[in-house]
């Protein structure tokens, strides 16, 4: 692990209100460069809303937040250039081939033709996709799609990658492989910001925050959280918190 003492995400009192309802209620935290930061919470706890504010597609109601050194209020466009994002829905174009998808997303992020060519060859090799690179993505198994999706999000070498429940519906072996990819990216200095429902995955994170009803109720390393809540595993920690 190569966590550096440099804040790449700084959030202070960040709030998002829809009318009277505060979906995200004054959350504050920092994420260090190269860290794998787990962002947990039950459905509807406000994880996705919080994440949307950090990736610049939703404007916060109040509070402060800096991502990769840019303010979410004033420099959302700069943030977008420096982050990668993988949504909970698998979101590549099913009716394009693997290679076409890579080319398309490379182009969107302003990569040069030469770079795209080189990257896609490298990526196809790393993922072991030789022979299927010209198949439609729609015909591939979900686990493969997720891996491609992650690689595509990493294509432009972002400083931070936001992963919104990346391993939903994937078998344990593929999940394991997926986490190996995450570790590798983190080793290379990319910050990983990941939401998940799987508590065993929470154990893989450097630090974990748990959101309940719009607030961050706990934030620490998995080890310390377990001690704090006198639980054997993260699952119990989560249940204790979520049930109040």
């Amino acid at each position: 692990m190569s966590v550096r003492d440099e804040n790449i995400i700084e959030v202070e009192g960040l709030t998002k209100a829809f009318g009277d309802f505060k979906a995200v209620n004054e959350i504050s935290f920092v994420v260090k460069r190269g860290e794998i930061f787990g962002f947990l919470g039950a459905n509807g706890a406000g994880k996705t809303t919080a994440m949307k504010m950090l990736i610049g597609i939703s404007t916060p109601t109040s509070g402060k937040a800096k991502v990769a050194g840019f303010d979410v209020f004033t420099s959302a466009e700069d943030i977008k250039k420096n982050i990668g994002y993988m949504s909970q829905k698998f979101a590549l174009y099913d009716d394009l081939t693997v290679r076409e998808n890579i080319t398309f997303f490379g182009g969107i992020y302003g990569l040069k033709r030469q770079q795209i060519k080189q990257k896609s060859t490298q990526l196809i090799k790393e993922l072991g996709l030789d022979g299927v690179e010209n198949q439609l993505v729609g015909s591939l198994p979900l686990g493969w799609k997720q891996k491609i999706s992650f690689s595509v999000a990493m294509l432009h070498e972002p400083k931070i990658v936001f992963l919104d429940e990346p391993t939903g519906g994937v078998d344990p072996i593929t999940r394991r492989q997926f986490w190996e990819m995450i570790y590798k990216a983190a080793d290379e200095g990319t910050t990983i910001f990941v939401t998940t429902h799987y508590m065993d995955e929470a154990e893989y994170c450097n630090r974990v925050s748990i959101m309940v009803n719009g607030k961050i109720e706990a934030l620490d390393t998995p080890q310390k959280l377990k001690e704090q809540f006198k639980a054997d595993n993260m699952n119990d920690v989560f249940l204790k918190l979520a049930r109040g």
């Binding site: 977008k80 829905k89 992020y109």
Partner: protein
């Protein structure tokens, strides 16, 4: 929905005519012509809106499209009738809408025949009033002249509005829209990218329809080809902006399709004046027809292709389409911003 449908079909979808605007050019102004004009304006079918003074006015009044028919009485109508027993009426009808033109013709003819019968009661020698009809803009009364503008409107609307809205909502449904929004691309770039293929597709469609109608159906393009092209592009953009608007309010492809079909196709077919004359509809429907872009586009194409008029006569319709386009685009931007917040 069923209430709206039965009302529409009951009131709008009628081939009868009602309150059709006609003009009269009375060159003799005598007792007979006066009573015929009175009879015509007394019927619920016609409203005499203009009394013309000379033959010269006829052409321009048709080009403006203010009246559907002009009734011309020859000089010394009454005298002719009493001396020779035969008087002539000239009936000029705007045949850009052939069905209505035919109906108008029949109605006016029967009104004059009625009048002839009335005066014949007192007189031994029967008088005859002979209507001589001329179909303006479409002398052969080809119904294809009516269908080509209508079909072109429907197809452009279908491709532009429906396809655009479906393809944008597809991105939303698949989740790829989210990815695109997180990328450095600006939202307007994404939308323009989505829309461009349909612009080209629609332009090709319009071109094919126009060429087919010219070469196969022998439909004339009396006016400027260039203007026709420009107006078509304008209508394509109007439809596209409608499509974008639909995509901002619908979450799934199915909703987008339903809205496009119910909200666009039905009114375009029923209320645009394509098949059923707008003048004969009840007032509320006439008012509603004004907010349907297709109505204005059909007026424009008929104007350019059949009447050969230029922007001088069509600036109002063009401005309306332009205004609608701007309105739809502004509304989409607003809706879009609300959704993002």
């Amino acid at each position: 929905m069923p209430i709206a449908q039965i009302m529409l079909f009951g009131f709008a979808i009628t081939n009868e005519i009602n309150n059709v605007n006609v003009a009269v050019l009375d060159l003799s102004k005598d007792v007979s012509t006066n009573s015929i004009v009175n009879k015509i304006s007394a019927s619920s079918y016609f409203t005499v809106t203009q009394l013309l003074e000379s033959q010269n006015e006829v052409e321009s009044i048709f080009k403006k499209g203010k009246v559907k028919a002009v009734i011309v009485f020859e000089k010394d109508f009454d005298q002719q009738m009493r001396n020779t027993g035969i008087a002539k009426i000239q009936l000029l009808t705007d045949a850009t809408d052939p069905n209505t033109a035919n109906t108008i013709n029949n109605y006016i003819t029967s009104i004059t025949q009625n009048y002839a019968k009335e005066i014949n009661q007192d007189i031994q020698l029967p008088f005859q009033i002979v209507p001589e009809s001329r179909m303006v803009f479409n002398p052969e009364i080809k119904s294809v002249f009516m269908f080509v503008p209508g079909v072109m409107t429907i197809i452009l609307m279908l491709v532009s509005a429906m396809m655009t809205s479906i393809s944008i909502t597809k991105e939303k449904e698949m989740g790829t829209m989210e990815i695109l929004l997180v990328s450095p691309l600006k939202p307007y770039q994404v939308i323009i990218g989505k829309v461009i293929p349909y612009v080209f597709l629609s332009i090709i469609n319009a071109l094919v329809i126009i060429l087919l109608s010219i070469f196969i159906f022998k439909m004339p393009v009396q006016g400027s080809f260039f203007l026709l092209g420009l107006e078509s592009v304008l209508f394509i953009i109007t439809s596209l902006s409608l499509g974008i608007l639909i995509s901002t309010i619908s979450e799934t492809q199915q909703t987008a399709m339903m809205i496009s079909l119910m909200g666009l196709m039905l009114p375009v077919i029923l209320l645009s004046g394509f098949i059923f004359p707008i003048n004969s509809m009840p007032l509320p429907l006439q008012v509603i027809s004004n907010i349907i872009p297709a109505k204005w586009f059909i007026i424009i194409i008929k104007g350019v292709m059949l009447k050969g008029v230029g922007l001088l006569y069509l600036w109002k319709e063009t401005l309306i389409l332009l205004g609608m386009t701007v309105f739809f685009i502004l509304l989409s931007i607003r809706k879009y911003k609300i959704r993002l917040e």
